[in-house]
């Protein structure tokens, strides 16, 4: 079974069972997103991919495409809303782009540029969060975690290790590591895990490899995320 629907007036074909996001990705139409990665079960938590479908606001990654559906994606109203959601993510964590190893290859930064977010608007929370450098190959900087749960899903569903989890509730929700000490170095995590390669921001980073590609020559320095897509898929190509 298949059919077609429209995104901002462009006709998009779909197979039954595909989400709006799946069909858009296949048609190379960019719908901004952070927690979505086609290799894993859709999550629907970042809400950045919220579009209107026949006038109703839905997350594109968790809503099935249906025949004749009229989807609005890059309207002024929706982009304004996305910019606000992005600002919320910056308020919540500690994102210091100029000093971040991931700058230029960070999806949060790239989507923010795409949506026209150029300056902070709200008072940031400046939470006190730790850095976990206990693992010999990988470092975790919780300051940059946006709770997309991609590492949680990758470790559980792909690596079969369930190294990562979410704990706490509400604004106190946070990423945790399954080990007796709660530290990455004591867990079953390995730098060759899928979970090491899915982080859209700079929360999970390889050690010993700083600034191999100079800032200015990185993925999103060259082209907009709307053209080149997720950073994780590029990493898979490089590593593969």
């Amino acid at each position: 079974m298949s059919g077609s629907f429209s995104i901002d007036g462009v006709t998009v074909p779909f197979e039954t069972g595909q989400s709006i996001m799946d069909a858009a990705l296949a048609a190379k139409i960019y719908i901004p997103h952070l927690c979505h990665n086609p290799e894993f079960q859709p999550h629907g938590s970042c809400r950045l991919c919220c579009v209107t479908a026949n006038g109703r606001t839905v997350a594109a990654c968790t809503t099935l495409a249906t025949d004749g559906l009229e989807v609005a994606n890059e309207t002024h109203e929706i982009t304004t809303r996305r910019r606000l959601l992005l600002k919320l993510l910056f308020v919540e964590g500690n994102h210091v782009c100029p000093a971040c190893e991931k700058s230029g290859a960070c999806q949060l930064q790239a989507v923010a540029y795409h949506c026209g977010m150029l300056a902070p608007e709200f008072v940031h929370f400046y939470p006190k969060r730790a850095v976990d450098a206990s693992h010999p190959e990988t470092i975790i900087d919780f300051n940059r975690c946006i709770l997309c749960e991609l590492c949680v899903r990758a470790s559980r569903d792909h690596d079969g290790k369930s190294v990562f989890n979410i704990s706490g509730r509400g604004i106190d929700a946070h990423l945790t590591i399954d080990s007796p000490s709660g530290r990455l170095g004591d867990s079953r995590f390995s730098a060759s895990d899928k979970a090491a390669r899915v982080c859209p921001v700079g929360a999970i980073l390889p050690k010993h490899r700083g600034y191999e590609i100079p800032i200015g020559r990185r993925l999103y320095d060259q082209e907009s995320i709307s053209q080149v897509g997720d950073v994780a898929s590029h990493r898979e190509q490089e590593d593969g």
Partner: protein
């Protein structure tokens, strides 16, 4: 009998609640033991512990006292009472005393709005707190009197029905509805519920018959029926009354549903705050088993096997959302699922599941017994029947009221003897704030739909305190899954705090509105979509209460620049005018 196997991972939450009660926390070695026996990771178990307010990783005091912190409790002086107890016992609120004797803290509404201020002591409700009662508590705690020996009147929860209509005036005989269903068949029962027009009483108002039909028509080896008794909406307590006085009706309703959808097993998900009802409810279940109304071959009908387990919640409002409730039943963190698929097609353990509110199931049993015309004798065309309301706040007669749908707010206010009413919050914190100009509106799905919470505020009240209370409530209860709700509820709290202390400007009000509508539009579930309602309604219907607190400047920094220099002045020992910023630095 169907019971969950001890070592089934879906039993995790129930095991943790048991451990918390036995050890006053979840000991670390118990986590290791659970991880091994249930085949779960340690981090997963810690994640569950840290999700539920009533589970703790470090020990609570021998007496763990939680003051209900709903606005109606506060209006009755709960904060002063808590502070008095804290100073009598020499412990700060939010802390455990060094000798581990007592822990004091606040908790979300405990469902005692008609007999507050209320508290929980080791899970047992204490009602009608006064200064005298607080002093009595302090003495009992200092003398280390075991809870079993505390005076019984402290724990008295009265029924408090102030108005009855068709439902509460009807007698009910256990088994009649099931017998009728067995005689006439499931299809006839569904037709009756359809004709009666029974809709979900939790507030959403979905057709009950339709829900049961959807579930029955989904291919599956197993189906489940779940009663949502996680009555967490601030200011509601009518389910508490139904569970206390009419549990037979709701168990009968669950059994009817089981007959229709072909379920062999059902759950009553009971909020942790109502744990005191667990014993009595289990007795009623046992009695029904002995009377052939539960268990194997119900009423002698071969193949009609059905039984009900009671699962406890542990202090998480979000578990009132049906898919979060199912996650919680499975022993996990109560994160709402992506829908569709809806629980009627994929619910508990992925099987088709009906989740209905207590009142809905009790009404289903009564409709089966009394018939369609009886139910339709009151109410409106779109909202037939009646609704139980939990009325609290500024009125002379708080309590349970049964009103026909279609009753105007003004009539309800007159009945509960509310005077000089400034506003009514209908439907709890997630509901709507109604000004006097709208008191002619009616209680009905087509006008003001409500789960049953009805909080009255008279003209002497600062409404902003209520709005602030509800906003903090949502910050505390947000599950943290989606960005707009997780961050939005925290930002609303901060931003409203700025208004409360008189530091806000008109720009801050604009931001509140912008954030609120973002949350309404983009949140993952109903909690986030409604969390800004108190602020948005307040801004729209009571703009003066915000405006009167604003600074006249158009911009106000988030912090006081001059005050921020205090540390520098202390270090340098300066206090001359040059070390100060004029006008706070603005």
């Amino acid at each position: 009998m169907h019971t969950v196997q001890e070592n089934d991972p879906s039993n995790l939450l129930q095991r943790l609640i048991g451990l918390q009660q036995a050890f006053r926390h979840i000991p670390s070695d118990a986590i290791d033991h659970l991880a091994e026996s249930l085949g779960l990771s340690r981090a997963f178990i810690l994640g569950v512990i840290q999700f539920y307010s009533f589970l703790h990783s470090s020990p609570r005091g021998e007496y763990d006292i939680l003051f209900s912190d709903n606005i109606t409790d506060q209006m009755q002086g709960s904060r002063l009472l808590a502070q008095r107890l804290a100073s009598k016992l020499g412990v700060d609120i939010g802390r455990t005393r060094d000798d581990q004797r007592v822990t004091l803290d606040y908790t979300s509404c405990t469902g005692m709005g008609d007999q507050g201020p209320a508290a929980l002591v080791n899970g047992h409700p204490i009602t009608r707190l006064t200064m005298e009662r607080v002093d009595q508590l302090a003495a009992l705690i200092e003398q280390a009197v075991p809870l079993d020996n505390w005076p019984a009147e402290l724990f008295q929860v009265s029924a408090g029905v102030e108005r009855r209509d068709i439902v509460l005036n009807s007698d009910y005989k256990p088994g009649t509805a099931i017998l009728r269903c067995l005689e006439e068949g499931a299809e006839e029962l569904l037709r009756r519920l359809e004709q009666a027009g029974l809709r979900g009483c939790g507030g959403a108002g979905f057709s009950t018959a339709k829900k049961w039909r959807f579930c029955a028509s989904t291919e599956s080896a197993e189906r489940y029926v779940v009663c949502n008794a996680d009555e967490g909406e601030p200011g509601t307590f009518k389910d508490r009354y139904l569970l206390q006085a009419h549990a037979d009706r709701l168990f009968e309703g669950m059994t009817l549903c089981a007959a229709v959808i072909g379920a062999r097993r059902g759950f009553l998900y009971l909020r942790g705050e109502y744990r005191y009802l667990l014993g009595p409810l289990q007795q009623i279940l046992q009695q029904r088993r002995e009377n052939g109304l539960l268990g194997q071959a119900i009423l002698g009908r071969d193949g009609f096997d059905f039984d009900i387990d009671i699962h406890l919640g542990a202090g998480a409002y979000i578990c009132g959302e049906e898919s979060a409730l199912i996650e919680s039943l499975e022993g996990k963190r109560g994160i709402p699922r992506n829908r569709p698929p809806f629980p009627v097609t994929r619910g508990y353990l992925g099987m088709p599941t009906v989740v209905n509110n207590v009142e809905t199931l009790a009404n289903a049993a009564l409709i089966a017994q009394q018939g369609v015309e009886w139910f339709r004798s009151v109410g409106t065309a779109q909202s037939p029947g009646s609704k139980l309301l939990s009325i609290s706040g500024d009125c002379e007669r708080p309590g349970i009221y049964e009103f026909p749908f279609g009753t105007p707010i003004s009539e309800i206010l007159a009945a509960c003897q509310a005077h000089h009413t400034q506003a009514v919050q209908i439907g709890g914190a997630a509901g709507r704030l109604i000004p006097p100009a709208e008191f002619n509106r009616t209680l009905a799905f087509e006008d003001l739909a409500t789960g049953g919470s009805f909080m009255v505020f008279n003209q002497s009240r600062e409404l902003l305190n209520a709005i602030d209370n509800f906003t903090r409530f949502f910050r505390h209860e947000s599950c943290g899954f989606c960005t707009p709700c997780r961050v939005g509820t925290a930002m609303l709290t901060k931003q409203l705090g700025k208004v409360m202390v008189g530091h806000a400007t008109s720009k801050d009000l604009d931001e509140l509105g912008t954030l609120g509508s973002l949350m309404r539009q983009t949140s993952h579930c109903g909690l986030g979509q409604t969390a800004a309602n108190p602020i948005l309604d307040g801004l729209e219907k009571f703009p003066d209460i915000f405006q009167s607190r604003l600074r006249s400047t158009s911009f106000e920094p988030a912090f006081d620049l001059d005050a921020s220099l205090e540390e520098a002045r202390a270090i340098t020992g300066r206090s001359d005018p040059g070390a100060h910023l004029e006008g706070g630095g603005v």
